[in-house]
Symmetry: C2
Subunit: 212 residues, 2 copies
């Protein structure tokens, strides 16, 4: 991205199509967005999308891969660094490796927020298969890592609690209604909430009233 001599010159027709598709798919859904709307937004011709991508589905795939591949790379790079330490990571550090790249990427590319929500939500079969394909490996590694730092939580519970983690993360990342927080504050609040939830005792009998 900082390499002007790259083989992907900025503002190419291909990139403009990806930008436009990303914007419109996120704003209106894939099924409701026509290729004509995409090409109009990109300021290119109707036939360009078929020349460069072949079909609407492949355009959708390219839109997702462009943003989410580097996000997952960053997450796994952080997780690798944590696991290379002799003592092993803390719960907080593991969660931060999962969450922080999302927040930072969402700041750098505001469209990512809406894309993530779209990917987790779009009911079309192809989109859901794509979501699984793009996220399964990374999420599996983090789920396993969380299981290791939470040895007292049974594996089946880890899996369920990890679904809660992903749900909370996706929901705040994909919100249209802006939360009354700076990104860094929201990240910290999310990390505190998730860490406490993951550490919850297995026994539900703790009917304390009020705050901690």
């Amino acid at each position: 991205m900082l390499d002007p001599a790259s083989d992907t010159p900025a503002s190419d027709t291909k990139d403009r199509l990806l930008d436009a598709a990303e914007r419109l798919f996120a704003a209106g859904g894939v099924g409701a967005t026509s290729l004509r709307a995409v090409t109009a937004e990109a300021g290119v011709n109707v036939a360009a999308v078929h020349y460069h991508f072949g079909s609407k589905q492949e355009l959708l795939r390219a839109v997702f891969v462009r943003r989410i591949a580097p996000l997952n790379e960053e997450r796994l790079k952080r997780l690798d660094a944590l696991e290379a330490q002799p003592d092993g990571p803390t719960l907080e550090a593991t969660l931060e490796a999962l969450v922080t790249p999302s927040i930072e990427f969402a700041e750098a590319h505001p469209q990512l927020s809406e894309l993530v929500g779209l990917l987790y939500s779009e009911p079309v079969d192809e989109a859901r298969a794509l979501a699984h394909e793009v996220f399964a490996e990374t999420m599996g590694r983090f789920c396993a890592a969380l299981g290791r730092v939470l040895p007292a939580v049974p594996p089946a519970d880890i899996e369920v609690r990890f679904a809660f983690v992903v749900g909370a993360m996706v929901h705040v990342l994909s919100r249209r209604a802006p939360l009354p927080h700076e990104p860094a504050e929201m990240r910290d609040a999310l990390l505190r909430f998730l860490a406490a939830g993951l550490r919850a005792p297995a026994d539900p009998r703790a009917p304390r009233r009020g705050a901690p």
Copy 2:
């Protein structure tokens, strides 16, 4: 529903259209589902949907209201009962009033799960406005109730944490991949996770390692 003398006889054309639309909208998204597909699934004529609902948008609205209105009524009924007690509710009881009806309704009407995911996800403006209209009052009341049972958590934090609560709840309710738990177990796991997360201390300095 148990009143055969009601003015809404079961298996009416209207009901069959609602059933079919619910199924197909949830499975493929609104924009990607044609009215022709809906009427074919319902086994009725193409013109029936316009006769009974007037347009695709009004059909979508009717689909949501039919399922979500009673869900919210049940939630608010439970919250009212809790708040009528002299001591006021516990955090666990408040969360249960929010979560349990979702789980029970999702068992009774499996389509609800996919509808909830659809409503929170569909990026089309009308659908999002409908989601806000249908949920805003109920969610506002629960957010305020949670603030009262968590007096140590600042109001702005309550709002953010409530977004995490909704995200986790929606995500597990709308999952296509089945979780390895009975509904009652999943509900208990969710309640424990959410209660612990909401009670998290405001200070993030608690780098304990491992389980509780």
